[in-house]
Each structure stands twice: as C-alpha cells, then as structure tokens.
Symmetry: C2
Subunit: 356 residues, 2 copies
C-alpha cells in the first residue's frame, strides 16, 4: 500500500495540513520544515498528493474533455480533426491543462453516461452531426463548453468557434460555376443516415441530416441556382463514411455512366481525394473524353500535393481558439462567438468546363 499524506505527517511529527502545504502552498511554512517533510516523503516513497482526492476537495480537475460524437478513433483518422486536436493541445499546454479524450458508445444512453462520468472541468465539442444530447448532458452537469458550430438554440452566451459553412461552400462552387460547369454532382458523407453509397434523391438540402453538410450543400446549391442550374438538375452523391475509399466508391457508378458530371464538389478533402483516386483509375480514353473537375473542403495537407482546389479553413486555429475560449472565457459574451475566415484555394483540379 502506498503511503498517504497522513503517514508522512506522522513520520515527521506534524499535522496533515502542514504536509499538504509543503506540496501545494510552500509559502505557508518554513523552508526548513518543508525540506524535512519532502525528505521524509521521499524516504517513505510517498509520490505526492493523490490527484483524485485533490480534485475532489479542490473542486476542479485540471483537464478538459474533447468530445467527438462519432467514434473516437475517427479523431485520429480524419486529417482535419487531427489539426483541430493539435490546436486544442497547444492551448492546453499554455494553460497546464490535460486533455481527456472520451470514447462515445453508440448507444445514446451509454453515450450520455460517458459524458456524465468524465472527470473534467469543461468540454470542447467537435461538431460533426447531432450532439445536442451531449450538450444537454454537459449543461446538466453545469460545466462550460465550446462547440465548433453555431447551435440552433444558440443563446448569446453560447460559445463557439465556427465558419460560415454556406458562404465558404458557395465560394468554391461559384468558382466552378464561373468556369462554365453546369452538369455537376455534390458529394457528402452520410447525407441521410443509413442511405447507401451512390446517387441519392433529395427533395432539397433540408433533408441532409448533419448541419455542417446541410450548410455546405446549401452553398453549392446557391451558387448553381444563381447560374440557372436548379436543384433537381444536380446529382447528390452519398458516401458511406468520410474516407478516400468511401469517396471513390460513391462516384464510381456515376463515372461509369454515359454522361458523367463535368465537376464533382465534395464536402471534404478526404472525399475529394477519393474522387481523384477514382478518376485516376479510369482508362485513359474515357479520361480524356470526359474530364472531371473536383473540389474539396478544408485544405488538408494532402490537398496541396494532389493539386486539389478547395476552401481552406484554419483547423489548428479552430482548435486553439475553442480551447482558449473554454479555459479563459472572455468577459464580453460576444467575444465568445467566433466566425473564422475561410479562403478559396485554387489549384489544378478544376479546369474550364468542356464545351458540350
């Protein structure tokens, strides 16, 4: 059994409080006594105050939770999520705070419990779907949180670091439309829960499940509606997951068809890279007959080497700011609602539309 504070106190012949002070408030006792205490502690093999007991008494933990409402390992699979995490960790470092990554079970009840059982002082919630249950649970515990998307019931005190998804998406789509593309496809991840990979019939963007996807699709739609390509004329492609493979698989049938789109606008770089994979796999003849332009979203590192035209959002900055907002809340509530700028990055993956 590891010795406790009490054991050290007994060994030195002082009170528990004094030993505690030796560790946590050195100014409260003479340096000589403090030295004696630490010495004795070393001798007994006392490793310092028990972190859990300390948190209980102090009422704070020194850690913030980072919540991915999907599978935790996703956080390390998606390059953009990784950059977000990098930003969060940078802020955490500055504040001497640890990061607790919590696996979220698929069962909603268990998921809620996971959030309720996390020993943290607050949460950074990475939004990639419906996380209202999580915000509920966090709020129920009275803990502060910051999200990466404006919440629908967003009050003035609701903190977030987000981008204007719709405007950002519109900027790439305008670029594509401006180059003459009219037969286009929009590609998104799990647009409708449970839908199969491939073309999807959607009455409108409102049917998209995730707010982020909805926002991006809206931007795409707006741009093409502005040049006379109305909603039913565009193809909506559903990918079964946010991965290259899923992106490639989703477009494949369309590419094999007689008149493929001249451009595919994807809701993420990862999906877009998948499209490029699928295009590269076509035989050269069809490739020259039917050139296909591609755009992504996020501007991850691979996008640059792949020459992918995309819209950049500052991932690390997003994470850093979110954590900063949580750990060091601004006095002005308005300062807690941040909309980051995005930037259209033009590369080689979009060409002028071929004359039909």
């Amino acid at each position: 059994m590891k010795p406790t504070l009490q054991a050290v106190a007994d060994a030195v012949g002082v009170s528990r409080s004094t030993v505690s002070n030796a560790y946590s408030r050195p100014d409260q006792l003479s340096p000589a006594l403090r030295a004696r205490i630490l010495e004795a502690a070393r001798g007994l093999g006392y490793p310092g105050p028990n972190p859990t007991a300390r948190s209980l008494r102090r009422g704070y933990v020194g850690a913030i939770g980072v919540l991915f409402t999907s599978q935790l390992s996703y956080a390390f699979t998606d390059p953009f999520a990784v950059r977000f995490l990098a930003g969060v960790s940078r802020a955490a470092e500055r504040h001497d705070t640890s990061l607790l990554l919590i696996p979220v079970p698929t069962d909603l009840n268990q998921a809620r419990q996971a959030v309720e059982n996390a020993a943290v002082d607050g949460f950074c919630v990475y939004c990639a779907g419906d996380e209202s249950w999580a915000l509920d649970a966090i709020g129920g515990r009275g803990l502060p949180y910051v999200t990466t998307a404006m919440q629908s019931d967003s009050g003035p005190a609701q903190r977030y670091v987000a981008i204007d998804e719709r405007a950002a998406a519109r900027s790439v789509a305008d670029h594509v439309a401006g180059l003459g593309h009219r037969r286009v496809a929009f590609l998104g991840d799990t647009i409708v829960p449970g839908a199969p990979s491939g073309p999807l019939r959607l009455a409108g963007v409102d049917e998209a499940g995730h707010p982020t996807t909805r926002g991006r699709l809206s931007g795409f739609r707006d741009a093409f509606a502005a040049v006379g390509v109305d909603w039913p004329a565009v193809t909506v492609l559903n990918a079964a997951g946010n991965s290259r493979a899923a992106g490639a698989e989703a477009v494949r049938p369309l590419l094999a068809g007689g008149s493929p789109p001249t451009a595919v606008l994807a809701c993420s770089d990862v999906l877009a890279l998948g499209v490029l994979d699928a295009l590269a796999a076509r035989d050269p003849a069809t490739a020259t007959r039917h050139p296909v332009s591609v755009t992504g979203f996020d501007d991850i590192a691979e996008a640059a080497t792949a020459g992918l035209t995309t819209v950049r959002q500052p991932g690390e900055e997003k994470g850093r700011l979110a954590a900063e907002l949580l750990l060091d809340p601004p006095a002005e509530p308005a300062a807690g609602q941040v909309l980051l700028d995005t930037e259209l990055i033009v590369r080689t993956s979009v060409r002028t539309a071929p004359r039909s």
Copy 2:
C-alpha cells in the same frame, strides 16, 4: 449549487447507499424504487454521481495516460505518432476507457509533477528520447505502464511494444548498399542535443542521444560496414526537429557541395520527404548529373504517394497493442514484451547507384 446524492436520498426518503445503488448496482434494489429514485433525480437536476468522488472511493479512474515526453502538440504533428494514438484510442474504446493526454513542461521537475498529478490508472509511454524520469515517477506511484521501446533496465516484467530498430534499419540500408551506393549520408533528428542543422562529426553511433536514433543509425552503419564502407566515410546529418522543413534544411548544404552523396538514409519518413523536397528544388541540370536516392522509416501515408522506399512498422498496431497490454495484462510476463515485425517497402526513391 448542483444537488448531491444526499439531496436525492432526502427527497425520496431513502439512504444515500440506496441512491448510489440505483446508479451503480441496479440489481441491489427493486426496480420500482429505482425508477422513483431516478425520477426524483431528474426532477432535482441531479446529473448522476460525481466522477471525481466516485474515482476516489473506488480507487480507479477509468482513464489511461498517454505520455509524449516531447511537446504534446508534437503528438498531432507527427503522422506516425498520430497513427499510434489511433491505435491506442481503438483499444481504449473497446475497454470503455478514456485517454488523458498530458502536456509535459520542459522543466524536468515540473514534468515529473505533471506525471504525478495525472488522474489515471496507468500509462502508455511513447518513447522518443529519454523518458526514464517519467517511468520513475509512474513507478513511484505504483501505476502500471507500457512503453514503445525496450528499456535499458528492462526486467522480465517490463512491458513494451517495440520493433528491432537496428534490424529494421539494416534492411533498408542493405537494400541501398545492394544497389551499389557507397557514398551515403545518414539523416537523423536531434542526433546530439543542441547540435546545429547539417553535417555532424560523430566518433560513433554511441554518441547519438536517443536510443531509437542510435538503433537506426547502428543498422545503417552495419549494412555499409558489411560492404566495406566504414563509419568515418559516411556523412551524418543532423536535423533540427522531425519535420519536412528540418529534413530539407539539413541536407541542403550537402547537395550544394561538389560531390553530394548518392543516397540519403533518413531515420524517419518525414525527414526523408524533406530530403525529396530539397532534391526537387535543385535545378534540373545538377539533378540529372547527381541523382540522389532516398529512404525513410515508418511508412506513413505520404510515403506511398511520394514513392518513398522505406521500412514499414505497424503504427496503429503498436498503439493498440500497447494499450491492450496495459488494460488487459497477459498472465505470462513474456507475452507483455512484444517485438513487432517490420517490412521493407521498395518504391521508386531508390535507384541503382550511378557509376562513379
């Protein structure tokens, strides 16, 4: 103030224990009473047992620490570290365990304290230098840990998931040597603490600070010694960090020189990619006059697209196994010491050596 267990107990008119059981041991009370209790809890806004108090009493936390002895944000910057984390998180998910990522201050005393203050049940230590102080601190707390490298004082109970660095490095180096390269350079990150970027005079590999680097350099050395290229004849290049930029910067002077090496063997893919960057930046004339082969180490995703010849080590597997070993220790101590297989991946970045 949030209500406590006691408040709920009072409201229902039962004892604290019973309310506690309602949450943690449903089989210990009648379903009817349990329902009434949970109902009352909802009514009062009781969010469930306080995680910290629970851990204190139960004596375990439900989280494991992941320790990067360098800067925490490094963990998300280095692709191999990210894959390791992905593996750890996968295992954590299976065991319903959270991951605590702890920022480690540069000051050694504070660093030790950070480890001592972490509320966790054990540690996965990602080895990338000297972490003996951390292992000491963890051991001092009586917590279990698993490392990613054989420790020097490794007893039979010492758990780790590692690779044979030397043999792995030798396999790529043999490949390069077999293709006739004799004028070569070895590139490593921070080979000697504080050394500047660029060529380094080393009496032998033993002078390399980090065990991992030492192992890899040894493998490189062995391979070339076997074909008659002895240590003083090879150039050792020091990179100031594990990044593309650092890799590129480290080789630049050598490439600019009159007789550059015909091959550069890097201790990591990231560095190797940096070398490729530097090579691509040369003017075409010198590029054809002095072709340079390059090898990496790890086989990260970018290596494939860059055509980098490298040696693959299973990063996710490493993380997964490490966490698994920690969370579910094997009865046999020998099973706690894992050496993973590596594989030479031949791509296009290594060509036959030009005839001198």
